[in-house]
Amino acid sequence: MTAAANWEAGRRERAKTMLGAYPDRRSAIMPLLYLASLEYGHVTEQAMTDVAELVGVTPAQVQSVASFYTMFKREEVGKYLVSVCTSISCHLLGGDAVIDAVEDATGVERGRTGDDGTFSVERAECIGACGGAPAVQVNYETVEGLTPDKAKALVKWLADSQPEVVLADEMQQLFGGVRSFDWGPLESEGPVAAVPAFGPFGSAKEGR
């Protein structure tokens, strides 16, 4: 019996679905790494061993894949991962000041996680929100048209209200500004962890 047999039941089911979703089981490594980060909080050694067993490759092979991608976090991540874009369009419109403000408000330096586990802060490369620069993501949900002050207010709101599900529309309405385009109707789905909120294998949950 593999360690993955101890995963939460829903996740075991989803793992099975992922393994059957591709012509070759190996393709399931990335989605399984997302699932495993939900199970263990981040991509731990155990997570990689589990994925290796599920797929039928060596843990070293999984590790080599995991280490290539920035979204597979191999160290602990906070409840809220704040990723601040400082690529060119955001840079031109004040992204560097936004990341300073986020560090200030969270007390967490870029690349780090705070001691109480609430926030991680990172510098992100372009998140496809350049028309609403400067932009940030919280657990990979986008907020556009920020200023340093609004970014601070966003952080304070996250810290005070500790939302279980992070909703892009809610954050945008409260703290955002110019958007890259009209987003259309409000959505009620979002992530419950620093893993993308994508139904089949991510952290998606219905919010308020």
Binding site: S27, L33, C126, C130, S180, G184, P196, G202
Partner: protein, 430 residues
Amino acid sequence: MTDRILTVRMEAHPSDSHTIDRYVKTGGYKALRKALKKMKPEAVAAEVNASNIRGRGGAGFPMGVKWGFLGAAEPRYLVVNCDESEPGTFNDRQLVERDPHQLLEGIAISSYALGISRAFIYVRGEYARGARRLQRAIDEAKEAGYLGEDILSSGFSLDVTIHLGGGAYICGEETALLNSLEGRRGEPRLKPPFPAIAGLYAKPTIVNNVESISNVPWITLNGGLAYADIGPDRSAGTKMLSISGHINKPGNHEIVMGMTWRELIYDIGGGIRDGNELKAWIPGGASSPWFVPDKHLDTRVELDEVGANGSMIGAGAVVVMDETTNVVAAAHSIVRFFAHESCGQCTPCREGTSWMEDILARIMDGRGRPEDIDLLMDVSDNISPGLSWPPAMTTICPLGPSATAPVASIVRYFRDEIEAMMPNKEAANA
């Protein structure tokens, strides 16, 4: 004459353009029905070929020609590239969030034309919202019989799977993307073989961009010639340009190519913020050499003309910089991006990008050395010998050469500004 194709529905129906109901009510899936009921697969491919549409993902390769290279081995795959990570680009994001069925219909028609029954959409991990909308659309389309088994009782079946990336720009390069989709590190492969012959799991694979495929329903419905009729000869059709930076109207603007940059920036883009002067712009995303008003404002937004002028439209990201821009800091932001995203396989790219990042950082901090400008050019030349256009390559993929674009651009156009940032010699000697 048609001047917009892709953004019509989302603009007319902002509240529900992403739903199947709205899609079908506004003529959606008619093209698929036409293809499956009235056209042979080869006839559909012939329309795409006649449209003269060139790939919208950056390289501008004619789509019909690429389709013609698809190998005969079975199974074959269609892979749609939604890794969109080039700084400045956000048009695919809008297409998948606001009109996912347009893409899915394009995927179904393209797969039918190519004899493919398995398609993948590689969505960058940070586009979770887009992936959710797409997945919902896939479920709706299956339910309604536009995807899945025996589509519209035609005998044609198609399975579409979303694969979420892991945060790596290089996975936008098609062979890196295929490696990633196979559960490997996203490292580009040596070409040849090209994916059309040996792609996903070494099987014949067509990789096309989201915007490219989203045009297929319109082409199928209206005919390739009607599409070819839009815009200049070698830049047929519409193009969604993502405009950002110091511009009054940032956003995605779907245009017919052929206008001048002046018209694009001042009319479509509403001019420079705060009434400032335009200093430079990046015509096609972080990878492209910059343009400056003196030389390029009255040249045309057209694939070949931009190429002849030493740059590219690429994925369509126009980044506008006004007179307040510190060009060294701007170039540094771009070079840092490439240094961060280099996959590390090729020494000139891996080492050269980090080295250029360091040099630019010290110039910005007022610690530049007299030889630094020459050094920047040497390192650039080592990554992309001769700094010609299109770039010569010593590397496996074009990422390395791309990193030289901002550096060569600021040295060419703003050398005096870089020199002015160097610490003055007397002070240094004192």
